[in-house]
Amino acid sequence: MIKLVNVTKSFDSQVVLNNLTLEVPPGKITAVIGPSGEGKSVLLKHMIGLLRPESGEVLVEGEDITRMGRGSLNRVREKFGMLFQNAALFDSMTVFENVAFPLEEKTRLSATEIRDKVHEALGHVGLKGIDKKYPDELSGGMKKRVGLARALLLNPKIVLFDEPTTGLDPIICRAIHQLIKDTHARFGFTAVVVSHEIPEIFDFTDHVAMLYRGEILEMGTPAEIQRSTHPVVRQFITGSLEGPIRFV
């Protein structure tokens, strides 16, 4: 479904992705874990063509999106939905307008059909009666759920989650994870979740990849990753201060 082959990306002189290769299995939830600032979001943005690598290939259903023009890239992006770290809701629009926006712009549905679909999508994420609220009137968890409703509205084949639970309390955090699991079970999309929520991430994902210094150190099932003997992986999942991962 998504395959990154020998992808290298740097900003100024700092190499963020270093000859990285990763294959995301179709129809599964794959988590990308790793310390903050290691390029997890950069990796996600390469998958949807928001960033282009200096070298390497990003294959989405066999097509290399790194060499595509805007038109072809938009055709590939039709397959995607994305939930951003801060939800990226349009702050001058109400919740209803935010969720309705892709339908209004990309379909020829009537106003009634759009209204029904928006209410259905908001119902899926457990939000009702907040149509007229603006994003700045919502809590962090509510914003993420509205973002998720918007991302899932056009039934994407692939959904990317960029740190969906950062900054949320443990209960909302668990609720969002459950929501990802439930919506995945309902819609069957391929999901890539960037997160450093350990150990919660192991509860609802099918595969986990550890990103460190621009490379995928290990990839496997949650159980395999938890049994890993790699010192970097071990230090990260145990949250130990001692080990090869340096922090400032």
Partner: protein, 256 residues
Amino acid sequence: MPNPVEQLGALSLSLLREMGRMVNFLVYALYKIISSPGKPIHILKQLYFIGAKSFFVIFLTASFTGMVLGLQGYYTLTKFGSEGMLGSAVALSLIRELGPVLSALMVTGRAGSAITAEIGIMKITEQIDALRTMALEPFKYLVSPKIVGAVIAVPLLCAIFDVVGIYGGYLVGVKLLGVNPGAYFHEMEKSVEWKDVYSGIIKSISFGVIISWVCCYKGYYAGHGAEGVSRATTSAVVMSSVLVLIWDYFLTSILL
């Protein structure tokens, strides 16, 4: 440490790159206006924002500009015994020069800065990326409607500026200083030609392009965080205003 020649070279290259990027931005925005014009509601919203909401500031500026022109013109013209020419002097100054330039500067301050801040905030909060991930073209929603809106709104605001300014001059010249009202309008009618009016319109249209282009560009490429947006906004207002004045000189020399 790089030598001064290297520094100058690097600065020149960076300026050239920036200019190239700005021109590319404008060309792509114009291409998008033609190739996928989008829904009229997006343009109407911009017309309301850039045009209708600037009405009050334009009205106020135009009134006082006209009044000052009336005062200054009267005292200069009385020296030559030609105060009857006041209407003509006020109208020509406004229609040819002050109307287009001052209305453009007012729109830059009121709407241009807001355009840069809006797009800049959308950029730093990943709202532009969100549009891209939905396979929607950001230019279609954020840039093209603003350029079309400005190209329509700025000449209309300029026309309002001219009319209000002429009546401001009338108020001071005729009502306060006693110039003959018939002479005020008759001299104006005799001296203002169609060429003066259309040169003002052409200037306004081009100023509309400059303001929307520079302000959208600066917002689209705003730096990081609140400081980045603040810098972009300042830079957009300064650059738009300076470009309006420079372009005004060149257009005037062509259209005279």
